[in-house]
Structure formats: structure tokens, C-alpha cells
């Protein structure tokens, strides 16, 4: 490190090192050193040039990245709020299950809970392998079956276990339309899931509310049977939601669905019951299953 106590710094033709210049840029040098360093920099073209380079690097990092934050923020806040109400599940809780097949979804091999991740799988209960493989003409099923506790106050569901003896009712199901690109699917999914997370519990008891949804009476029995195959969540809360309503999707990278969202899958086989997850499968079977938890 440059010895700034050396009064011959300039005369000797020495230069400031990066650490001093960087600290000078940040105004983090002691007053005396700052004066010496600043004086040298103003007189030395080489150090001035280096200061400009390091300053430009700092400026580049200072520019905040942009993103579509609103949907993300809603999801993250919803997950955090749910976490405030739902304690972390104890070890040995039941494994996360595919809402359609009822089979366990393979837990991510991370050794710690991943509360905010889409659980992604291909096939029925077969773990996905994020990677380059692309799904072609996958059928995307998006909708919801909410198994609710009849008569429970609307606001009381989120984060609370359903009472013993709760009855089940099919409430939500919606189609998101058709997509030809992963980007458009993802954008729509995010907005829809955020909307469901924001208003889902309020829409549960009576099947009303502001969630963009409709009753899918024709498939109610089928979907209820599918969710009935899912073991109860930890505590008294039951399986909450299954999305269903096929649309066509072409050329979607499997990895699209590995991005994080609210999830129930824990790597240690426990269920976090924080919100929503998706499952992607190929060719005619369910492509996206999302679960709304409370």
C-alpha cells in the first residue's frame, strides 16, 4: 500500500496504488492521507487516469438493475407474511406431493428449505432436470381447485390451518390463454399467481372474490379427486389448489419453470406451505400445477 506519510511521494515519482485511489474515491481515507493522495492525484496524470477507471467501475455497479418488480414484490412479501404466520415445519413432516399424481415431488438437493422456489418436475412425480432440454408442444394447465374450510372467515385462512372436519369445495379455476414463448407465459403466470396470492384466501369460502377465475363445474369432480389423493398438509390444513385448464405451449425451455416462486417443496422432505408451485410435464400430461397454500 502506498505510504502516504512519505512526503517525497510526488518528488520520487511514485504512484498511488489502487487501494488508496479506491478509498480516496469513497472518501474513506483519514484527513491527512486524503490531502496527500488528492494532491498527488491532481498532479499525476497516471493516477488520475487510474482514478477515472476505478470510478467508472464503481459507477457501473451503482446503476441499479431494472426488473419487473411489482409482481415479484407481491410474491416475496406474501411469502414473508406467510412465514410470519406459519412456523417452519418440523423435521419429518410429510413430503411435498404432486397435486395431480399425489406422488412425492423430489426435494431439491440443497440441504435446506427453499421456501421460494417453484417445484419443477417432469412426468408424474419425476424430478425435473433444469437444463437445455426444451419441451415441445407441452400442454399447460393452469387453474385452481381450492379445498377450503366451509364457513371459515375469509381472512382467517391464510397462514392458518383448516379446522378439523373442514369440508372441501372446488372454488377456483382459470385459463391463462395460449402462449408461444416462455417469456409471455412467465409474465402471465407471475401476474396471475400474484393476483391469486393476493386475493385467494378472500375468494375461498364462497368461491367469489376478485381472483380472475371461474367455476369449472364440469371438471370439479375430477379435480377434487386429484386433490383428494394428496395427503393432508402438516397440521390440519388440507391440499389447497390445483391448476387445470389446458392451453398449447410450444418450445418452452424446461428451465423457465425453475425460477423461484412460492413453494411447498422443502429439500428435507418437509412442506413449507407458503404458497404456489408449478410442475412442468411434457406431451399431454399436466404441464403446470400451482398450489395455493395457507
Amino acid at each position: 500500500v502506498t505510504d502516504l506519510s512519505d512526503p517525497t511521494l510526488r518528488a520520487a515519482g511514485a504512484h498511488l496504488d489502487d487501494e488508496v485511489i479506491s478509498a480516496l474515491i469513497d472518501d474513506e481515507l483519514p484527513v491527512g492521507d486524503r490531502a496527500v493522495a488528492a494532491g498527488h492525484r491532481s498532479a499525476c496524470a497516471r493516477c488520475r487516469r487510474r482514478s477515472d477507471e476505478l470510478g467508472r467501475a464503481a459507477m457501473a455497479i451503482a446503476v441499479a438493475p431494472t426488473g419487473s418488480l411489482e409482481g415479484e414484490r407481491s410474491l416475496a412479501v406474501a411469502a414473508a407474511l406467510a412465514a410470519a404466520l406459519v412456523p417452519a415445519p418440523p423435521p419429518g413432516d410429510r413430503p411435498a406431493c404432486d397435486s395431480v399424481s399425489g406422488r412425492p415431488v423430489a426435494a431439491p438437493a440443497t440441504g435446506r428449505p427453499e421456501a421460494g422456489r417453484w417445484a419443477s418436475s417432469t412426468g408424474r412425480g419425476v424430478p425435473a432436470r433444469p437444463g437445455r432440454r426444451r419441451l415441445r408442444r407441452a400442454r399447460v394447465m393452469v387453474g385452481a381447485v381450492v379445498v377450503a374450510a366451509a364457513g371459515l372467515a375469509a381472512g382467517g385462512l391464510h397462514g392458518s390451518p383448516a379446522p378439523a372436519g373442514a369440508t372441501r369445495s372446488v372454488v377456483l379455476a382459470s385459463s391463462l390463454g395460449s402462449f408461444s414463448t416462455a417469456t409471455s407465459l412467465r409474465a402471465t403466470l407471475e401476474a396471475t399467481v400474484a393476483s391469486i396470492d393476493a386475493t385467494g384466501p378472500a375468494g375461498v369460502p364462497g368461491g367469489t372474490g376478485s381472483v380472475p377465475c371461474y367455476r369449472q363445474a364440469a371438471r370439479a369432480a375430477e379435480l377434487a379427486a386429484a386433490t383428494a389423493a394428496v395427503p393432508p398438509s402438516s397440521g390440519a390444513g388440507g391440499p389447497e389448489a390445483t391448476f387445470a385448464a389446458p392451453v398449447e405451449l410450444t418450445d418452452v425451455p424446461a428451465e423457465v419453470f425453475t425460477f423461484p416462486r412460492l413453494s411447498v417443496a422443502g429439500p428435507d422432505g418437509t412442506v413449507t406451505r407458503l404458497g404456489t408451485y408449478a410442475v412442468v410435464v411434457e406431451d399431454g400430461t399436466c404441464a403446470v400445477v400451482a398450489r395455493l397454500g395457507w
Partner: protein, 206 residues
């Protein structure tokens, strides 16, 4: 400059008045206050995670985990540091966890098509360059540089967040910026086509 609380929030005992008020309400059981607190800090925490991970989805993952950790850790927050500083620590740790997970998953290198779209072609290229350059920086350097240049923390605060001596902060910031200079100025073309190096992603530095 506290960029999170910028806008006139004065500080008392290291915590902005507004944060302090919200935290007080949260402790009294006010869930809306908790939501407001989380909403208030989300953008900056996401930005930290985004710069740290270099990837939108990973950043969302890390941010969400950070938010959950913040909620769960809030009862233990003692107010000796600013809430934002404490939250940054959580976000950085969540990002480092995410980076480690990403390394284990051996995910394909970031596809350029998944990079965020920003206004203007020139800005878009710059974002790509910044992302690529940051990904090639060891995470320890990255954290120090991001906390300084994006979050505006001073060296003492960064030392507190990263739990390292101030001298190490100064060294990491300097080395991080020095490493970024060639990446941003001339080698970005190569950086864009190269995967994030496992050595840099996993490496620890003084």
C-alpha cells in the same frame, strides 16, 4: 447515503424513524406494518440480490428467501444497526446461498435471452457487460463492491454486514473494482460468451 431510506427519513439510534416506527408496530402485532416494511425495502434488496447473483430468477429467489429470513429474524433485531444495514446482510447471505445452490445445480450459463431488457440498446449492452463482469468477480469481492457502490454503505457498515475488518473491506473493494475495469472496458465480449467461472463463484477471498 442511505438509498433505501433516502427521502428525508432521519435516523435515531442507527435506525430510520420510519423503519423504527414500522418495526414497533410489527412487534405489536401489526401485520400491515410488516407488509409496509417489506414493501419499502424490497426494491433495494432485490437490486442487491440481482447484482450479486447476476440473474433475475436467482435474484427473486434470493430476495424472497431474504424477506422470509428478515421476518423470522425481526424479533431478534436489536436496532443497534440500521434496519437497512441488517437487511442487506440478510440479502447478501441469501444471495451467497443462491450462488452456492446455482453452482451445485450446475445450471447452464446465463442465456443472453434471459437477461433483463432495459431501455435503449446501449444501456442493454451495458447491463450485459455489468452482469458478465460481476459474475466473474469472486463473490466476496462482489458483495463488498455492491454494498459500497449500489447500497452506498460506508466501509464500517460494510465491515459490519460482512463481518470482516474494515481493512479487508477496503482491500476487497479496491481489488473488486480493479478486476472490473478490464472486464467492463475491453474484455466484456469474451465475458459474455463465457460461463461464470466456478472458481470465482465459489472462491473465498481475504
Amino acid at each position: 447515503v442511505d438509498q433505501v431510506t433516502a427521502g428525508g427519513a432521519a435516523t435515531v439510534a442507527g435506525v430510520s424513524d420510519e423503519d423504527l416506527a414500522l418495526i414497533r408496530l410489527v412487534r405489536a402485532g401489526d401485520r400491515r406494518a410488516l407488509e409496509a416494511l417489506l414493501h419499502r425495502h424490497y426494491p433495494r434488496l432485490w437490486a442487491v440480490c440481482r447484482q450479486m447473483t447476476g440473474h433475475d430468477a436467482d435474484a427473486s429467489d434470493a430476495t424472497q428467501n431474504a424477506m422470509i429470513a428478515i421476518v423470522r429474524g425481526l424479533p431478534g433485531f436489536d436496532g443497534r444497526s440500521r434496519f437497512a444495514t441488517w437487511a442487506y446482510r440478510v440479502a447478501v447471505n441469501a444471495s451467497l446461498d443462491e450462488i452456492r445452490r446455482r453452482t451445485r445445480r450446475a445450471t447452464d450459463p446465463l442465456d443472453e435471452t434471459t437477461l433483463p431488457v432495459v431501455a435503449g440498446a446501449d444501456q442493454g449492452i451495458e447491463r450485459v457487460q455489468v452482469d458478465a463482469a460481476l459474475r466473474r468477480l469472486p463473490p466476496d469481492y462482489r458483495a463488498a463492491v455492491v454494498l459500497r457502490d449500489l447500497c452506498g454503505l460506508d466501509y464500517a457498515e460494510i465491515a459490519e454486514v460482512l463481518e470482516i475488518p474494515p481493512g479487508t473491506v477496503r482491500s476487497r473493494i479496491s481489488r473488486g473494482r480493479a478486476a472490473l475495469v478490464p472486464l467492463l472496458d475491453g474484455e466484456q465480449a469474451g465475458a459474455r460468451s463465457r460461463p461464470a467461472g466456478a472458481a470465482t463463484e465459489a472462491g473465498g477471498r481475504r
